[in-house]
Symmetry: C2
Subunit: 140 residues, 2 copies
DNA sequence: CTTGATTTTGCAACACTGTTGCATCACATT
DNA sequence: AATGTGATGCAACAGTGTTGCAAAATCAAG
């Protein structure tokens, strides 16, 4: 079936991203995973593809609101696909969960980041809310 | 006045930390700042003290609930003193604010991290909530 | 006080992540 | 086919965190 080859290209085109081979591979890799991924994870799966090429593809995706960065405190930035109509505004942000055991990061899309009453003159632009603990899989 | 020399030692002793020269210097540096500091910042102020020595002092402080780590997405972990009776439990956690302009990180101690309704079987242990934007000083 | 054990510190080195510069290559347009 | 634009691969680098080991300082026991 070729739907797996056609879909990613459509996604890229919908975001005005030229669907080059590397970008397609990176996107397919992200689509194949349910968790947020490190650059290194993608590198391992796409064996033979340069780290920098993946890096630039991801940066391109970010700029075009296709993926978002998550800083889960593990030391490495993780990346996950945005939801369809995400424009990476404040309202689009959601909470993430980092499991200390399997070290995987979950997008809790149903949990919007709560707005906070900041001190006067402070302006919010974005936020990073990561809850850490043990995920359902590791909690046996 | 010698209160500045006696106080830090008391703080360390109260947390069962042996007040060695390096530890005192690191603690004094943290006390002298209103914002969270990077290892590198402390290193710069304590000119001549080894990075690793500061690192180990900080790690010791962390273990004894004297400082907490903040991951503000700047790439470098920042450290700030805990409040007096902090035991680094969930209830002790507060929101942080990272200013994109001056790159300083503020402890918003009055803002407790809100609890979230997680998916079933997920266990919370800690959290990192950083709001990013422009601080009052830079917002002119 | 001397000896020995333990802890702390300084130094060197390393791993990992992210990033940039540059040359080459592919591709699209004329 | 010629040309220009962008994508890719390669090499190198910087920042951060971390560990191993040896020297120094501290502490405890005799």
């Amino acid at each position: 079936m070729n739907s797996q080859k056609i879909e990613p290209a459509k996604i890229l085109l919908a975001k005005n991203i030229k669907p080059t081979p590397i970008r397609l591979k990176v996107l397919e890799t992200l689509l194949s995973q349910t968790h947020a991924m490190r650059l290194y994870d993608i590198e391992n799966i796409l064996d033979g593809v340069e780290r920098t090429s993946i890096f630039r593809a991801i940066k391109n995706f970010e700029k075009n609101n296709l993926v978002h960065e998550i800083d889960d405190g593990s030391g490495a930035t993780k990346f996950a696909l945005c939801e369809d109509r995400c424009e990476c505004n404040l309202e689009d942000l959601h909470v993430h969960f980092f499991c200390k055991i399997c070290e995987q990061t979950f997008c809790l899309q149903q949990l919007q980041i709560p707005s906070m009453e900041l001190p006067p003159e402070f302006v919010v632009e974005s936020a990073n809310f990561v809850i850490k603990g043990i995920c359902a899989n590791c909690n046996t």
